[in-house]
């Protein structure tokens, strides 16, 4: 059923991830661990084509971007690693556009899932998602997406500490947190409140459940804050147009002949 569960049907539980952009080191361990778990679990197979060739392509449920941010407020410029996967939206358009009922949002915990046995592979859900969360698996002919490791989190055959998504379990930096974002008293909700976690593209209206914690401001040394950071270039006499600088430029030109 691709109509979304009504407010009465929903349990109030909103399972999701909180991703800390301050501590993510961009190691891709979460993506690899996700691929490894899901290629044998609910989303199996999660195929790569031409994996060792010149132009490999494959379905992955988690992608790690890296951005550089040129700051304007005196903070140093920085690199931000940015994992991107399904945000398990409260109002997911990927579900409502699905013509077959293969896509659905679970009333009991809010997980957005896809039934690989009824998906016709029309790809319309991938068009409806602004976050690029759904990928087509050509070898299987169906769409693949993050299941929030639904086959781990309730799995009583696993040790209690392993009953969380594979990406969260694998993260060596502690940058990924899993929990109930519908419960204001949960650890993840408190973390979001404390660190001012935010939604991706809130104007899309899909109300993502997953939250991103912004990078913290960098601590500046006392010298920096006083504004008398040593002017490295000037003390070396390089590039400042001084007599020494002109001499070295002349020397460089002569020696380059």
């Amino acid at each position: 059923m691709t109509s979304l569960p009504t407010a009465e049907e929903r349990s109030g539980k909103k399972l999701g991830l909180v991703i800390d952009l301050d501590t993510c080191v961009g190691c891709h361990a979460c993506a690899v661990s996700c691929k490894e778990w899901n290629t044998q679990g609910y989303s199996a197979p999660l195929t790569d084509e031409n994996a060792y060739g010149a132009d490999p392509i494959g379905a992955w449920l988690n992608r790690i971007h890296s951005y550089e941010v040129e700051t304007q407020d005196g903070q140093p410029n920085r690199t931000v690693h940015f994992p991107r996967s399904c945000l398990h939206c409260e109002e997911p358009a990927c579900v409502t556009v699905c013509p077959t009922g293969a896509s659905y949002k679970r009333a009991e915990d809010g997980i957005v899932l896809l039934n690989p046995d009824t998906c016709i592979g029309c790809k319309l859900c991938s068009w409806a998602c602004p976050y690029g969360a759904r990928e087509y698996d050509p070898s299987h002919g169906v769409m693949k997406k993050c299941t929030l490791c639904v086959d781990r989190i309730y799995n009583e055959h696993l040790e209690p500490e392993d009953r969380q998504p594979a990406c969260v379990r694998a993260c060596p930096a502690g940058a990924r947190h899993f929990g109930d974002l519908g419960d204001p008293e949960s650890a993840v909700s408190k973390l979001v409140a404390e660190r001012e976690g935010y939604d991706l593209l809130p104007q899309s209206g899909y109300k993502p459940v997953n939250k991103y914690l912004p990078p913290r401001p960098r601590r500046m040394g006392a010298e920096d804050e006083a504004g008398d950071r040593p002017k490295v270039l000037e003390t070396l006499g390089v590039g400042d147009g001084s007599l020494t600088d002109q001499f070295f430029k002349w020397a460089d030109k002569v020696l380059s002949r």
Binding site: L21, Y67, V97, I120, P215
Partner: protein, 316 residues
Amino acid sequence: MHPAYSVIFFTTASGAGYGLLALLGLGAIFGAAFPQGPLFCIIAFGLSLGLITLGLLSSTFHLGHPERAWRAFSQWRSSWLSREGVAAVATYAPAGLFGLLWLAGFEGTIVWKALGFLSAVFAAITVWCTGMIYGCLTTIRQWNHTLVAPVYVVLSAATGLVLFALLMQSFGAGQTWHVGLAMTGLVAAGLIKVIYWLSIDKEPRDLTIGDATGLGRLGTVRQFESPHTQTNFVQREMGYKVARKHARKLRLMCLLLGFGVCFVACGLTFILPAWAATAWLVIATGAAAFAVVVERWLFFAEAEHVVNLFYGTPQA
């Protein structure tokens, strides 16, 4: 957006087929002087239902599992694609009966007219649903536009009108108003498309990579490294850029070589003998087909998906 050939063929062919079907239905109500005999009926329904059926079949070619296509009739409560599927199949019922009654000689009866009316209504609903599949997607600025579904309907009507004029003319039943109506449809098609293009060009591209990532609060954001060395499905499907740089030329080709040539060819039939008029209407049909195929190609190629922001596109 990547233009899938099967979808371009489907939307243009079935669009023309539904347009022709609707005109046969409307012609029945308003008492158009259809040629006598079963041959016209067979050719007219063969052409319209043939185009519709070929289009629908081709639309299943881009599916990962065409054998499961029947499942797409189930989610009409929420999905425009499902509604289109239901409407498309439902149209066969009144259209089939309409054609059978015609063939059986019940032409002119009230039931025959009612079925013609229903065929026209169902055809219009189906084409509207096709447009809304695209029009409801908020992720693509060029598609999430009030004119998208109307454009589908107007272009379907225009191509249907050209086919209708050709059909009537080739059976020696051509009248001035057939061609006149087709020319009116072509002007409407060209106009609504120009208004749509001007409108999407004027809209601000105000979403940035900083908005998408939420990192804009820190400063200017640029892609430092892609998540993967080769392009993935999302980039191949949503990041299509090939025709975009030729968009202006292709728009002009669509308007001048397509709708324009079709309009002139239609106009020439007024001053030519009947046999030549048929030939010119064949040329007009070819030009109309060219116009809608180029238009549909551009509709996909010019569509910019917001997900490209995550892959380093500065604005969308």
